[in-house]
């Protein structure tokens, strides 16, 4: 099964794939994506097709070549699923299967990876083996939401393929109006800035909501993302309905000896111009070989900590801030999530329960209030922040806004 050849030999194989071999049809346009120093997905596909003699793959390459020629896509959706689930497989049928019958079906299984996208080589190999058996062998690591995308199976093989994967411990991700697969940054596993356990929280929350992932019952998609600190390495603010971002209260921790070493190494000028001067609220000062921070004015932007990582660290009283309502362009234009929970501890099981409760109530509020195909950010915008806060029982705080309103058009309850 797994080719036992060494990496270098495999490389040779990859090189050969640049000719279309005997198996594949001509794809002159796609072939032009095989030149140049960046690795080529076309080369990869051809290598695979030539080795496995997958007719599906040949058909898909033919159709893709035709797309390049005609500048048109030829897939349509449909319904392909596995027992008990209403989501997780993206069905693709060719609309020109008369022309490319080999590409008639090309469905994708969205498989939820472990939080943080960590693998053992064994776990990946096992998955590859199943996938080579039941599918095309194309794997995207990863989709933009974080799924492993196993691209190219058929209706008849889907269930079996999933069963085998499920036996290995994998489950499907979200699609359609469901709670979607999440992403979390590498966090505490390898990052000194992590203010909470991104991987653990992701794991627990998504496991808790697994039913909502598999069975479409929401007005539209709903995404959580988990970033360990305000650097937001998962882009959660724009790419998720609920961004759980690590932060801290209290003072930034300072190791003044390290500050001194940075002054020696980078120069005081650099620190003045590229650290101190860039603090958004001018909360930080360099005095000789020491740093002083007015923590009341610090807005937890991370910049000074990023720049002087050996000397500065997030304060010890850590937790998360939660932003709600991020989403992409569609219909209303990009939306960035906005602060709804200024600070929440997220350490104990009880804290975790609070987060689950918060998520549950939020999803319920949204399901009750949203129009069809309306993300929660749109719903909040439509009904007003007040209705959302009331519905959720959240205390309003000034942290939620950049500034108070600039119009008098509201009606206090009476």
């Amino acid at each position: 099964m797994t080719p036992k050849s060494s990496t270098l030999e495999n490389k040779k194989g990859a090189g050969q794939a640049k000719s279309n071999g005997g198996f594949l049809h001509e794809t002159p346009l796609l072939d032009r994506l095989e030149t140049g120093p960046w690795p080529s997905f076309i080369t990869g596909f051809k290598e695979l097709a030539n080795r496995t003699h997958s007719t599906m793959l040949r058909g898909v390459l033919d159709q893709l070549e035709y797309s390049y020629e005609t500048k048109t896509g030829y897939w349509k959706g449909g319904t392909v699923g596995v027992r008990g689930y209403g989501a997780g497989i993206i069905a693709r049928f060719s609309v020109i299967s008369n022309k490319f019958p080999e590409a008639a079906e090309f469905h994708t299984l969205r498989v939820q990876p472990a939080p943080g996208l960590h693998y053992t080589s064994k776990s990946l190999r096992d998955m590859c083996d199943v996938w080579e058996k039941y599918g095309s062998g194309i794997i995207a690591l990863h989709g933009q939401s974080g799924d492993i995308m196993l691209q190219g199976t058929t209706q008849t093989k889907a269930q079996e393929c999933f069963d085998e994967l499920n036996k290995l411990g994998w489950d499907l991700g979200g699609a359609g109006p469901t709670l979607r697969t999440s992403a979390s940054c590498v966090g505490p596993a390898r990052c000194e800035q992590a203010c909470y356990d991104t991987l653990g929280v992701h794991h627990k929350l998504l496991t808790h909501f697994v039913d909502l992932t598999h069975r479409p019952s929401l007005p539209y998609k709903f995404k959580f993302k988990f970033s360990g600190c305000p650097n937001d390495c998962t882009n959660s603010i724009m790419r998720s309905d609920v961004a759980v971002i690590g932060t801290w209260r209290g003072d930034i921790e300072i190791d003044q000896a390290e500050v001194g070493r940075y002054v020696d190494q980078l120069g005081a000028d650099y620190i003045q111009n590229s650290v101190v001067a860039l603090c958004p609220t001018k909360a930080i000062r360099l005095k000789g070989r020491e740093i002083e921070i007015d923590n009341r004015d610090c807005v937890r932007c991370m910049h000074c900590i990023n720049a002087l990582t050996k000397a500065l660290s997030p304060g010890g009283d850590r937790g998360v801030t939660i932003l709600v309502g991020g989403k992409g362009h569609l219909k209303v234009g990009n939306m960035l999530g906005s602060m709804i929970v200024p600070f929440m501890k997220l350490e104990t099981d009880e804290d975790m329960e609070k987060l689950v409760d918060f998520g549950t109530r939020m999803i319920e509020w949204w399901a009750d209030n949203a129009l069809d195909h309306e993300r929660i950010g749109e719903t909040i915008e439509r009904v007003g922040m007040q209705a959302f806060l009331d519905g959720m029982g959240i205390e309003p705080t000034i942290d939620m806004v950049e500034a108070p309103r600039d119009n008098p058009f509201f009606k206090v309850e009476y």
Partner: protein, 361 residues
Amino acid sequence: MSAQAQATTWKTVESGPPDPMKFLHPLAVKNYGRWKYHERPRPGVLKHTAKSGDALYTVRAGTTRQMTVDGVRRLCNLADRYSDGYLRFTVRNNVEFLISNPGNVDPLIGDLEAIGHPVGATGNSVSAIAHTQGWLHCDIPATDASGVVKSLMDELIDEFKREEMPNRVRLSTSCCEINCGGQNDLAVIIQHTRPPRINHDILNNICERPKVVARCPTAAIRPATVNGKPSLIVSEEKCICCGACFGACPAMEINHPEHSKLAVWVGGKHSNARSKPTNMKLAAFGLPNNPPRWPEVADVVKRILRAYKEGGHPWERLGEWVDRIGWKRFFEATGLPFTKWHIDNYRLARVSFNKSAHIRF
């Protein structure tokens, strides 16, 4: 055993995402949550030092994202050889090997490059381009994201391997206006320029008409009888070519080989470092959708990155650089034309107007 028969024997375990701890490198488990700082010994390599004194090296390399079992197995081979069998992927589809033995770093880099995976993407580099499905798989794409990415990265690979930009640079591409690639310092996104043509023959069979009508953000779609059959029509004037209707109904054919064009966006930022996160803004539009290499797009992208590389101050993200120098200088520095369509005319347009006498000459 038929697929059907086998299926019934296995009872699905609805496990959700696997437990991450099972997949973590032992040093990551040992020092979980107790890292102290990191360094970047060279581009593509991180060294994280834990409070315990342990050091964990990371080697980061580019992939095609659209990989194959063969390619993945090759990476697994390298992991077995150099990183105790542990590897991970970044949110930008780069592969990372977590290494306890510093002596493995250089050989791994050699092997990675030998099989075509460029090593880099750390620090102030241009990392890999986040991208989407395109003609390979999506049902609504107007271009091919993987192809655009391959063409662009061929030109940007040196910046991927170096750390010479003012700050990290994130790019994305998307194959329709929905923009699954998300926003970034620089994003290449297809854009429709014509209202959907309606395929009246199929519409009634395959779409729920009220749903399609409701999907339109500008109320441009209304029910009508066409050729004696109930169908829909679109007000050309109202339609903003967003493509939302096409997502709801394939009969609302918005994609067009000529009229779907590429646009380049700049200044998206998610991190809270220094400035608040920002939405990206339109830099160039109407670029031809020109497979297989999209040279016009590459030209614009390189112009922008070159200007930023020259003009950006340390730590300034692309959008922060533009904010400092002003958009007037951005258009000057890149030589891109400013047109009336760069001016917002959508629902929050007024917010973006220059409501001041502040002006640069």
